[in-house]
């Protein structure tokens, strides 16, 4: 047998996320950031092909997030971490460093991924708050 491959649920999640234009992160059951899509890359100013997989602390430090006062949000209060550690969905607003270096307010929804053989990881989708307001104004 070849070396272990990713669980199918993560493979399918990555395929989905790579096909949509909504910024999204995918982490495995250990909290390693195993993929983020092009839209997320545009938001944070780095491409997944450049960063590769990032450990739990690495991606937290690389991308923030921060509260409205610019203070780092503890890792265990990030929606993706809550989805991972507590196995429940989580939604919140926060700030990250955008590609331009500015602080960008975003909304984040994270949800756990549970397969037939148990917990597999989690995914989070992001929405720049400004984009949402523009969309509302345009509607």
């Amino acid at each position: 047998m070849a070396e272990a491959q990713k669980p199918l649920e993560l493979i399918l999640a990555r395929n989905l996320l790579s096909s949509i234009s909504t910024p999204a992160f995918l982490v495995d059951a250990e909290g390693t950031l195993v993929f983020f899509n092009e839209a997320a890359g545009a938001l944070v100013g780095r491409r997944f092909e450049e960063t590769g997989a990032l450990g739990p602390r690495e991606w937290g430090e690389a991308f923030g997030p921060f509260d409205e006062h610019g203070r780092p949000i503890p890792w265990d209060r990030i929606p993706l971490t809550i989805a991972l550690q507590q196995g429940r969905p989580m939604h919140s607003r926060m700030h990250i460093h955008s590609a331009s270096g500015d602080m960008q307010e975003i909304e984040v929804s994270a949800l756990p991924i549970v397969g037939t053989e148990g917990f597999r990881g989690a995914m989070a989708i992001f929405w720049p708050v400004g984009s949402a307001r523009k969309a509302e104004a345009a509607a």
Partner: protein, 291 residues
Amino acid sequence: MKATVWGARGSVPAPGPETNRYGGNTSCVHVSLDDGSDLVLDAGTGIRCLGLAMRPETERIHILLTHLHMDHIQGLMFFAPLFRPETDVVIYGPASPEASLLDRIARYISAPLSPVEVRELPCQVSFLDAPDIEWQIGSATVHANSVAHRGPTLGYRITEGDSSLAYIPDHEPALGAPLEALEDEWISGYALAHGASLLIHDCQYTDDEYPAHVGWGHSRVSDTLAFATRVSVRRLALFHHDPMHEDDMLDEFVTEAAARWMALGGAPAALAIARERQSLEFAAPSAVTPP
């Protein structure tokens, strides 16, 4: 280990003079191990004729279901050994959080779809979720893993000595991302099929047909060949023929597939298209260079 095809058709049986040469029965492959153990891969309509051909004195039969779509279980109710009290039949299949394997199969083997209920089957039958670790059946090691298809679906790898058979009859590994863009560990079915002596793999669609069927859980020929190349199988059998593909069409299909296989670096003799009652050849150890 010997593998014989009893049904290579996908989706729905397609009997008739137009399909006589490749056969119209749905998925079923019999694997005979060196120690005499009998494994049956899927229970499409091909399993009916297999059951009639098996020795009545066969004591134990292991049926490995990849999933519970009709073309993979429809023949189960007509499998003669299920009606022999002295036969022990063990049926493996994918786990589901919704119901046990027995309960899910009982939806088919029960009224109004069936005159017989599972509990009325005369044989000794048991239903087991396929373990998520390797397990032993007779002289073979069996490994099951989830693969990309609609609904809970498994592929199997059966290893006996130097020979290994990977069976992934319903599979769409390139859904959402081209295989060449993915690392090995992100390819559905990679671990199951890597380096196998023989891979029996979904090849339901031509490249022209595929765009109308994206997401249905099946592969076009270019993806099948790319997958087989990527996992370095030593022999490949194209499987799960579309019911619309008549014999003459499949002749052309495999001719074109062979040309593309060779263009990818595959050995000509390493590619086959499955047909009913055909004994599939395994690559001898190190006899064929992986493409």
